[in-house]
């Protein structure tokens, strides 16, 4: 007859008190926040070294302009990172005695192998981007999007997103899209749209970039 109320009494006695539950809540909350803000970004990205340490500064001093190596082809398409043939124009034989140059000639020029540069600004293939429209059409400077790459003496480490395989530069080094990004502006879709809205008054249409 009294089985049910007995059980209730027993469970009340065995039950943990309110503050214990709250402590557990706080532990969960704080631990997850610490993990999410500090450990997660470290876990998400792997760090890679560029195959050759390259000095943009030296090359700019010698050649004077970004476009000496990053040029527009005759059909208006952009060449991106120079191919081995373009490097060969100058570096068929050692010019400086720099160990990086030595390595470049031995490992790539002599073996006729393209350098697998890691591209900090690589976008997924579903994104259409025209350098000509921005650089030629709107007179934009390289630095506006790529930061002060031209004066760097050495290539910084490349952080690769383990899930997507793209560079950390695209999202930005900070997890939150606030403040100035370290290496030129962030390059997510919303960043493109924000700039377009500011400069042209419209974010643009889907098919302008996703053809």
């Amino acid at each position: 007859m009294s089985t049910q109320s007995d059980n209730q009494t027993a469970s009340a006695v065995n039950r943990s008190s309110g503050w214990v539950i709250f402590v557990f809540f706080l532990i969960g909350l704080i631990a997850s926040m610490i993990t999410g803000w500090t450990a997660f970004p470290k876990l998400l990205y792997s760090t890679k070294e560029q195959p050759i340490d390259f000095s943009h500064k030296v090359h700019i001093e010698q050649l004077g302009d970004c476009r000496a190596c990053h040029f527009f082809r005759d059909d208006g398409s952009f060449s991106g990172a120079p191919s081995l043939d373009e490097c060969k124009d100058c570096h068929m034989y050692p010019m400086t005695g720099n160990p990086n140059e030595q390595k470049f000639i031995e490992e790539y020029i002599e073996k006729d192998k393209e350098v697998p540069w890691l591209n900090y600004a690589e976008q997924p293939p579903c994104v259409f981007f025209s350098h000509a429209a921005h650089v030629k059409g709107s007179d934009m400077q390289c630095e506006t999007c790529h930061g002060d790459m031209g004066h760097s003496d050495s290539l910084r480490e490349y952080q690769e997103n383990r899930i997507t395989g793209y560079s950390r530069d695209i999202w930005g080094y900070s997890m939150l899209p606030i403040g100035e990004a370290e290496h030129g502006p962030r390059q997510k879709m919303n960043d493109c749209a924000a700039c377009h809205l500011k400069k042209t008054g419209s974010k643009g249409d889907c098919f302008q970039c996703h053809k």
Binding site: N14, R15, I21, C126, M175
Partner: protein, 760 residues
């Protein structure tokens, strides 16, 4: 302190809330979205510098537009027209543009295959090229040993150029007269030119310089001839012309024309004769040409003193009032059209239905061609010209052994060139009947199909397929798994045209003499082999005189030697124009028995002996079927957005087709709203279209641009091969059409079929 389930839940809730306050969920969602686009099977185009390579497109049966192919790192990206190419001047058709999709798409045959299951079952066994070539050679060798070389037949897409030459040479050395060109709307017109002018060659129409074009059902902008060339000529491209389109349906060509004349279908030759009547009656014809360079215009007497009727007196049977009744066109329209045509400076009459259809007999072609003769615009600027066969194929004659000589003496299986149809060169449409008629074994013991995809393009396709089933051995050389390849026993896939060398002589419709060079733009993707190389290897393994007839190491060497004079130019600019080719003057132009243009073609096969049967005439085809049960007429039409020939639409091109032509897998047939109302149909209704040849499930589209009583259906749909992206869309109109042999020529004069529509 007691730790229990509730503490754990609380920990989890705290953790979840905390996680939500970190970038983890938002960043992960974004990254996973990008990750899903990185599947290894998602094709990612190569990036890099573009390299343009010149070649010539041969994907359609008219084949021969100069192209510039943009490639990146050895991949073909985009096909563009070559602006200086003398045929198409930079214009190109949708099939040519989307040919890259066929190059990389799943319709390709990737290696030689041997049939593993039943015919048409689609089960194949991969074999090596050595095995494939020895299988064919052994079969052919066995037939020769049985003294049956003439039972080997070859169906080719073209009879011109080096590949066709190699095939014909092979058959001759082997001992078979049965080289057959695939059906084309030019069959009848080429025959008409050869009978009236005594010249064999392709037809050239100088439309660029013509100021008055009358087109008798030729759908010039819908794929007729070489589509790229027609685009480059269209008046919209900056040139003012005067195109009059005679057609029962408002096609795209008719819509672009200056005048659209909807004659009753099948009465085109009556209209042509009616126009001629007015021109002759009003003395508007070219007196110089008619009086000095024509034969059979007036009544004449032969060597034996027998009187014959001439063209002038024939025309008395076609007064405008009577023609108006026959064609359904107002008498005044006929009169003014005739006067407009005759008074124009450079008028031209042009025919050949559709882009790819092989219908229309010799009578119609002769009637249309006679108009060009009346105004004397033969071999004139803005007129018509016969471009002679290429003369670079002049290899020494070969030796043939006894077996081959005996085989070559046998009559052709299609009866072309025999006593029955002595004028006609090829009659693929007669093949099914020839097989069915034969008692005992099939007159074709081995069939080599190198082009034309006959099991899709032939009229009454199902009957053709049944006849082909009686052929014990079918080898296909197709690049794609087309309808014919699907029914073959062994497949020896040719390279895609973007992967191979080939010469392209003057395509149909072009008035200049030109050779184009198809060149490999990309490396062969699969284990395919150039058909020229395969023939040379088969000949080599058969040995004897056959092997000796093919002394070349490979096709490329043969091609280079054949075109040694032009090779340098061809390599450099991709084409060679014969600057010495000027259409001969009238006095030297005609190789007929009379040495003149023959309105009365003396060489025309005329079993009845009646003059009216030698002269052009209006003899309507008696379409099969009971008109009471099948009161409608099924009219096939061409569309530039649907490839109607041997090669199917790639999916990119199908995307351009309107939803009232094909929607999902349903094909729409057009019906005049009045006819539809009478039959109780409204827009989008499902129906069964029946003809004596077969039936198809269709939907109805109401179209005021179609004459009442007709059902119009596009060609090129209803494929059942290639790939799952191409097959199963709509129905094949060829399967619903019949073949009616024109007496004397054997050409198919069934331009349509009787039909009925019932609700489905």
């Amino acid at each position: 302190m007691k730790i229990d389930r509730r503490c754990f839940l609380s920990f989890v809730i705290g953790g979840a809330l905390g996680t939500a306050l970190t970038p983890v969920p938002w960043k992960l969602t974004d990254d996973i979205a990008i990750w899903t686009q990185n599947w290894p099977w998602t094709p990612v185009p190569e990036e890099g510098p573009s390299i343009y390579k010149k070649s010539v497109c041969t994907i359609c049966s008219g084949g021969g537009c100069g192209i510039n192919v943009r490639t990146i790192k050895g991949q073909a990206k985009k096909i563009e027209g070559q602006p200086d190419y003398p045929v198409n001047r930079g214009s190109i058709c949708p099939l040519g543009i989307s040919a890259t999709q066929h190059l990389y798409g799943p319709s390709r045959i990737q290696s030689p295959l041997k049939r593993a299951g039943k015919r048409g079952e689609g089960r194949w066994e991969k074999i090596s090229w050595d095995e494939a070539i020895s299988t064919v050679s052994e079969k052919l060798s066995a037939l020769r040993n049985q003294k049956k070389p003439h039972t080997v037949t070859c169906i080719a897409g073209s009879d011109r150029g080096t590949v066709a030459y190699l095939l014909e040479r092979f058959l001759t050395a082997y001992g078979s007269p049965n080289f057959i060109r695939a059906l084309s709307s030019f069959d009848a017109y080429e025959l008409a030119f050869s009978l009236t002018q005594g010249q064999q060659g392709t037809l050239g129409y100088d439309l660029a310089n013509s100021d008055f074009i009358v087109s008798f059902g030729a759908e010039l902008m819908d794929g007729w001839g070489t589509a790229g060339q027609m685009f480059s000529l269209y008046p919209g491209n900056g040139k003012k012309s005067n195109l009059v389109q005679v057609e029962p349906r408002l096609s795209d060509t008719a819509a672009m024309a200056n005048q659209w004349i909807a004659a009753k279908p099948g009465t085109e030759s009556a209209l042509a004769l009616g126009i001629a009547h007015v021109i002759v009656r009003d003395n508007l014809y070219n007196k110089n040409f008619i009086n000095n360079h024509c034969f059979g215009f007036e009544d004449w007497e032969d060597k034996n003193g027998k009187a014959h009727q001439g063209y002038r007196s024939l025309l008395r049977q076609y007064p405008p009032a009577k023609v108006a009744e026959t064609t359904g066109i107002d008498k005044g329209t006929i009169e003014s059209l005739a006067r407009g045509f005759a008074r124009a400076k450079r008028p031209v009459a042009i025919g050949g239905r559709g882009g790819h259809l092989a219908s229309g007999g010799l009578d119609e072609a002769l009637a249309v061609q006679a108009l060009n003769a009346l105004v004397g615009n033969i071999n004139q600027p803005g007129g018509v010209v016969v471009v002679p066969e290429p003369d670079y194929l002049s290899w020494s004659e070969m030796k043939t052994d006894k077996t081959a000589s005996e085989g070559l003496r046998q009559p052709r299986i299609d009866e072309a060139g025999t006593d029955k149809f002595p004028n006609t060169r090829f009659l693929l449409n007669r093949i099914p009947e020839a097989i069915n008629r034969a008692k005992g074994e099939s007159p074709i013991q081995a069939l080599l199909v190198t082009g034309g995809n006959p099991l899709y393009t032939m009229p009454n396709t199902e009957a053709a397929k049944k006849a082909f089933d009686k052929i014990p051995f079918i080898a296909s050389f197709s690049t794609y798994m087309d309808e014919t390849a699907q029914h073959a026993d062994i497949l020896l896939p040719n390279h895609h045209f973007l992967e191979r060398y080939e010469d392209v002589p003057t395509p149909a419709g072009t008035p200049t003499r030109v050779i184009g060079l198809t060149r490999p733009v990309v490396k062969p993707r699969f284990d395919t082999l150039h058909i020229g190389d395969v023939i040379i290897r088969i000949a080599g393994s058969l040995g004897g005189f056959i092997g000796q007839a093919f002394p070349w190491k490979n096709y490329q060497e043969f091609l280079k030697q054949t075109l040694s004079k032009q090779w340098e130019t061809l390599e450099k600019q991709g084409y060679w124009v014969d600057s010495e080719f000027i259409p001969p003057r009238w006095a030297r132009a005609f190789n007929t028995p009379s040495g003149k243009y023959e309105f009365y073609p003396q060489e025309r096969n005329n079993p009845s002996g009646k003059d009216t049967d030698a002269l052009p005439g209006f003899r309507p085809a008696d379409l099969p079927g009971n008109p009471d049960k099948m009161p409608l007429t099924l009219l096939p039409y061409s569309s530039i957005r649907i490839a109607g020939g041997a090669v199917a639409n790639p999916p990119f091109m199908t995307k351009t087709v309107d939803a009232d032509v094909i929607r999902n897998n349903d094909i729409f047939v057009e019906l005049n709203p009045g006819t539809a109302k009478k039959l109780g149909f409204s827009e989008g209704d499902a129906a069964i279209l029946k003809t004596p040849a077969g039936e198809a499930r269709v939907r109805i589209h109401l179209f005021e641009g179609l004459m009442p009583g007709l059902v119009a259906m596009p060609t090129g749909l209803g494929r059942n091969a290639f790939s799952s992206y191409i097959a199963g869309k709509g129905a094949n109109v060829n399967a619903l059409l019949a073949d009616i042999a024109e007496p004397g020529s054997g050409l198919n004069k069934a331009w349509a079929s009787r039909a009925s529509l019932v609700k489905a």
